[in-house]
Structure formats: structure tokens, C-alpha cells
Symmetry: C2
Subunit: 430 residues, 2 copies
């Protein structure tokens, strides 16, 4: 079979673009063997051609005119690594119209418009590859589409934000406080100067919607993902959790329940023996439960130029093979459905609660009674010797519909003996 050189245009040349180019350089021969043809970078759209970059690029390749990438009939494949949603979306739509294959590392865009773009790609008989849009270098999209293709996915549960996992690891294993851990993460480049999207769980929610869309074959609206961040977690909670046998992690969880999908990102206590509990520092992992395979987990670096570039080049190899064979067999996400979403209030959860109460006779009994009235039963309790008349009580409930827990909690808040509700986190046993 005749193999032509596959010609590639880049949209953007920042961190991920540079990593991609470096891999194409470093592993050129192997990539050509796997792709079945040489890969030639023909044009790179950048905002500022004068800018200093992490990688050597011939100036002739750079352009500020998108048409030089999008309208060039010789370019088979466009790699979008510019970020942002509006412009990137227009360019990708145009690339598809021009019958180009598309690779994107754009999480925000795939979360917001992935199903529409995939539909357009199918109509154009092309494809969009987006392994790099979520999980950096960890193979997630391809395993969900292919390797686990025989499974109905029951649940996905992931540590998919490196910044928050780094902070929680430093707090857990090195006894740092939140502020210190965040400052260190910023210093090491694991947290941005404005880290709010990471800390508040929004970044994880975007990634969850991409993964859940694929896992459950459904269009996901980001507003349907219940989201809580990590700023309420104190060292004291991590200490108690550890005493009870749990690690504290920011988990993104997607489930298909009889009533519909449940989608949420929140701090979670998981047993220390759970494989996700061993995911430390800036690493990410996705734990998947399928109805045939049981439980599998994918682990690695969820960000960074080279890991993310590794995913871009893996997509490039697949795309080049399809281009060479003149076929398109890649789009399996063709039957995205709109599925009902179960509100978080109706989900069954176990809760960890830490509160401070006056150390008087009957205080604990009143607490237990308030929970009992809403059928919240208690699984574990810690109460240590009180200081200055104030007792700190930590308890873990059995699973209960969330609204019942919160109804009981509202009554407990109103007790004259309750000094403070310090923290409420969900607990997942497996």
C-alpha cells in the first residue's frame, strides 16, 4: 500500500504544542513506523512569531493567519493546542469543513461542545481525537472507547486534578497546612497564580463531563455536575480521617443509576487500602467499574508538556493510519443520548461530620436522636477528652439519602449546645 507523508498544521504553540513537537523530534523514527508514514509539520499558527519558545521551530513554519493552516489543502490534520473556546471552536469547525482530521487538547471546549463537534466530524466523515483533553499522558479516552468497549460502565471515579491532589498529599503525608501546601504547589508550577478553577473543583468537573459523556454515552451539561472544592479541608480533618482508616481526596464521580446519571466532584474520604488512596502528589488516576471487567484503574501524570504531548502524538499516530487507509472508523461516540440526571439531594451517601459542642450531659444523646429521627445511623464515632468545656465530636454515618442527612444536620446546628459545624465530607467505602 502506498503511504504518503501526513502533513500537519498546529493551532497554537504553547506548553502542549512544544511538548508535542519535542516528542515528534525525539521519537521520530518510531512514530513514523507506528503511523505507517512520515509526519511533516507544515504550518503553525501563533499569536506572536517573535516569542521565545521551549522548542526550536523554523520561523518559516510560523504564521499569524489561520487560513494558512485551515485552508491549505495539503494539510491533512490540524492539532489544536491554542486553548480558549470561541476561536478554537470556529477553527475546528472550519478544519472539519475542509475535510481535515482534528486533534485537540482543549478540555474546556470538549466539555462545552464535544458532542456537537463530534457530530459535525461524523457528518464530514472525519474525526476529532481528544485523548490529551483530559488526564494528560494517562490513556483514558482510548481505553474507555476501545479496551473497555465490551462493558457497560457502572461508575467512574477519579483524581483528575493534579493541583488539589498535590495539596492534599502535602497536607496528609507532610503535615502541611492548606496555605503552605498551596504556596509550595505554586512555587513548583503545579498550581496557577489564580488557582480557583482547580481549588473549587471546576477543572475536575470539566474533565468529568468529558469522561462521563464517553463512559455513559451521554451528552453532559456542565451545570449538571455537582461541584465542591477543597478549601474547607483542614489538617484536623485529615488527621481524624486517617485515624478512622481513610485518605481524603478530591474525587470526580460519575455513576449510572436506575434513575439516571449522578455526576459530582467533592472532597471524599476513601479507605486507605483503596487504590485511589495511593495516588500521591500531582499524579492523577481514573478508577472505572464495568459490568464485565470489574474494577480497573489508570494512573499517571495528568498534566505537563511531555505527558500531554504523548497523548497528542498517540492520537496523531491513529489519525495518520486512518488518513493512510482513507477510512474513518474512529467515531464510536455516535449515539450520545440525553440522560436524566439524579439531583445530589437524592443520592445515597455516607458522611463524615466534625463539630464542636458544649460538653454537657445529654449532648451526644441529642445528636444521636436528631440523626435517628431522619433514619441516619452512625457507623463510627470519635470523641476525645474535651478542652475548656468544648467537646470535638467526629462521626461517620452509614449511607443515607443526602437530604435526610442535611435535614438532621439543620436541627443539630440549631441546638443551643452546638458551637460549630466544622466540616462535612462524603465517605466512599469502595
Amino acid at each position: 500500500m502506498e503511504r504518503k507523508t501526513v502533513k500537519v498544521g498546529f493551532l497554537g504553540m504553547g506548553t502542549v504544542g512544544s511538548g508535542t513537537l519535542r516528542i515528534l523530534e525525539m521519537n521520530r523514527e518510531q512514530v513514523a513506523v507506528k503511523a505507517g508514514s512520515e509526519i511533516e509539520v507544515k504550518k503553525i499558527l501563533v499569536r506572536n512569531p517573535e516569542k521565545q519558545r521551549d522548542v526550536d521551530v523554523s520561523l518559516e513554519l510560523l504564521t499569524t493567519d489561520p487560513a494558512e493552516v485551515l485552508q491549505d489543502p495539503e494539510i491533512d490534520l490540524v492539532i489544536e493546542v491554542m486553548g480558549g473556546t470561541e476561536e478554537a471552536r470556529r477553527y475546528i469547525e472550519e478544519a472539519l469543513k475542509q475535510k481535515k482530521y482534528v486533534i485537540t487538547a482543549n478540555k474546556d471546549l470538549m466539555a462545552a461542545a464535544g458532542s456537537e463537534l463530534l457530530l459535525q466530524a461524523r457528518e464530514c466523515r472525519r474525526n476529532i481525537y481528544y485523548e490529551a483533553s483530559v488526564g494528560g499522558g494517562i490513556p483514558l479516552i482510548r481505553p474507555l472507547k476501545h479496551s473497555l468497549g465490551a462493558n457497560k460502565i457502572i461508575r467512574i471515579m477519579g483524581i483528575i486534578n493534579g493541583t488539589t491532589n498535590y495539596i492534599l498529599t502535602r497536607m496528609s503525608l507532610y503535615n502541611m497546612d492548606f496555605e503552605g501546601a498551596l504556596a509550595e504547589a505554586q512555587e513548583k508550577g503545579f498550581a496557577e497564580q489564580d488557582p480557583s478553577s482547580d481549588l473549587e473543583g471546576r477543572d475536575a468537573a470539566y474533565k468529568l463531563s468529558i469522561l462521563a459523556g464517553l463512559a455513559f454515552n451521554s451528552r453532559i451539561h456542565i451545570g449538571d455536575v455537582y461541584t465542591e472544592g477543597i478549601s474547607g479541608i483542614s489538617k484536623r480533618d485529615i488527621f481524624y480521617a486517617s485515624e478512622l482508616g481513610f485518605a481524603v481526596k478530591l474525587l470526580a464521580i460519575g455513576e449510572e443509576l436506575p434513575g439516571g446519571l449522578a455526576l459530582r466532584v467533592h472532597p471524599t474520604l476513601i479507605p486507605r487500602t483503596h487504590p485511589l488512596a495511593a495516588v500521591h502528589n500531582e499524579n492523577n488516576a481514573l478508577y472505572v467499574v464495568g459490568n464485565a471487567v470489574g474494577e480497573v484503574m489508570f494512573y499517571g501524570l495528568g498534566a505537563g508538556a511531555m505527558p500531554t504531548g504523548s497523548s497528542v502524538v498517540a492520537d496523531l499516530i491513529d489519525a495518520a493510519r486512518n488518513i493512510n487507509y482513507g477510512i474513518e472508523d474512529g467515531i464510536m461516540e455516535i449515539d450520545f443520548q440525553d440522560k436524566a440526571v439524579v439531583p445530589v439531594e437524592e443520592l445515597l451517601s455516607s458522611f463524615y461530620l466534625r463539630l464542636q459542642a458544649e460538653d454537657q450531659p445529654g449532648v451526644f444523646a441529642a445528636l444521636a436522636t436528631a440523626f435517628g429521627e431522619d433514619k441516619v445511623s452512625l457507623d463510627m464515632i470519635i470523641q476525645k477528652r474535651s478542652t475548656e468545656g468544648v467537646a470535638e465530636i467526629v462521626l461517620v454515618t452509614h449511607a443515607v439519602e443526602e437530604r435526610f442527612f442535611y435535614r438532621a444536620l439543620d436541627r443539630i446546628k440549631a441546638f443551643p449546645t452546638t458551637r460549630k459545624i466544622n466540616s462535612v465530607f462524603r465517605v466512599i467505602e469502595k
Copy 2:
């Protein structure tokens, strides 16, 4: 595009075959969507049609004549789940000649003859899919071929035998002894009645040769895999390892070093914070280091009817798509090379050593001197109060060429004060 029903013949219908059929039944609709066509099981070769099976099979599908599967021109695809090597190999060769695609779950055969069979498949313009031959339900083959295709693989390191991992977990976390843990594993079906292939590391060595072949693009001869089993591990070693911050695991390790490949299966001390240390019970995991992606890990059940069936059906989906498109783009292992293998004596390793010596002045100094003479330096030492004049000494060395360690150890063995060398294990720090 017109899509025809893909017709499948089975060779064998034991545990994996039954799991495969059950998944095809249970997830029929989804499999058809992903495969792009219906899947029809047309014939099943069995030894004994009367035998009771775990799955309902119409008697008309069963045959004892291999030709009814291999010679039927309507059968597009043969699934070999019969095991054994000689007969299975002949049938697969015949199936390829008859222009059928092949899926196999046969670890022994792929380890022994994988590169020859893949070569034949390429010549026949067909393919052999073998995700199920190693790692049960965990996606390993496809990620190594595709998702990590942009990487030069530097090292693979895996817990790829469930029996031994179950035993070591019971010994570590539940303080059981080796015999008790083995008996429990046999009772639960995680160990065979004759468990020697698992316990001695041979099963892991076979799997390593399949994985290393793919990772390093090389023909691997099973005799080149240095293999040690777990029967020398005592509760006392696990106790000391834990005190030093390590877990004890049977690891299969493949590396590409400047001098060639290093391939070995042996008990290993790894830091408790390493992700492989958190792989408990009968679970398996493969940890891969690539020159672009860094470190990734794949985790899950490495055996069992449904997990392994999940891999067979994933392969079936891929094969069906290729059949429908009339193309074969799957064979990437086309350039298997013969690479030099570095003998284990020349590898750099850190060692854990436990020995008993007479508690006399100068004994430890003599030990340290013996190591020093061979440039073995010590990293950690434990010596507890001696009982009845015998001291138990545990030490961990820095990395050293193995033959120097063993040369020093030979001298230490010969000391009149040395009572017993209890155990020697390798240590991997990351």
C-alpha cells in the same frame, strides 16, 4: 457503508470462552454498536459436547471437528480459548491460512511463538489480537501499542500474577504465614491445586515476555527471563521490610539498558508509597515508564472469566471493525528485533539481606568489611537485641553490580560466626 454480520468460531469453551459468551449476551446491543455490526457465534469446537458448562449454549453450535470452524468460509474470525500450545498453534496457523482473523487468550502460546504467528498474520494480511493473553481484563496490549505509541519505553514493572500477590497480601496485611495464605488462595480459587508455575514465577515470566516483546519491540526468549519465586519469603522478612518502609511484591521487570534488555521476575522490596505497593489481593498492575509520558500504571483483575472475556470482546470489536472496513491496520509489531540481553549478574541492584550471626565483638565489622572490599555500601541496618547469643541482622545495600554483592556474600557465608543466611531480596527505590 454496508455492514455485514461478523461470524465467529470458538476454539474451546472453558472459563474464558464462557465469560466471553456471557458478555456477548449481556451487552449485545452495545457490542453491536461499537463493532458496527452484529456478532454471530456460528460454531464452537469442544472436546466433549455433553459437558456441563457455565453458560447456555445451543447444542447445534458445538462440534468436535476443528474443520467445522477452520474450514468454514463463512466464519470471519476465530477465538482461540482452548489453551495448550501445539494444537492451538496448528489451528491458529490454519485459521490465518484460511484468511480468518484470530483472537487468542493463550499466554503460553503467545510467549512461545507470538512473533512467528504475528509474522504469519501479516503475510496473510490478517491480524492476531491477544489482549486477553496477559493481564486478564486490564488493558495492557492496546495501550502499549496505541496509547503509548509515541514513547520509547524505558521500563515496565508489573505485578502480573494474582496468586502470588494474593498470598503476599495475606501475609503482609493479615499476618498469615505462607502455607496458610496459599491454602486460602486455593480455597478461594486464586491458586491452582498445583501452584508451582505461579509460585516459582514462571507464569509471570511468560507474561513478561509478551509484554516486553511489545514494549521493546523485540523477540523475547523465555529462557532469557531470570526467574525467582516467592517461596523463600517469610513473615519475618515482610515484618522487617515494613519496618524499613517497604512492601514485598513479586515483580516482573523489563528494561532497555544501554547494553541490551534486562528481563527478570523476582521478589522485590518497593517503597510503601510506590503505586505498585497499593496493589492488593488478587489484583494485577503494570507500571510503565516512557520517555515522553513519564510513569503510568494500569490496574485491575488479571484473571477470571468475565475480566478476561472483557478483553476478548474488546478485541472482537476491533477485529469486527477491521473486517467491516476490509482493512488490516492493526499489526504494529512488525519490526520485532533480536536484542542483546544483559545477564542478571551484571545488573545494578540494591539488596535486602537477613542473616543470623553469633553475637560476638567484631562480627558486624567483619560483615561491613567484607561488603566494603567489593564496594557494596550499606544504606540501612537493623540489629535488634540478640537472643541466646545469636544476633539477627537485616541490612539494605545501595545499588551495586549483582556479582559483587554475591561475591561479598560468599565470603560472609564462610565466616565461622555466620549461622545462617536467611534471605536475600532485591530492592527497587522507584
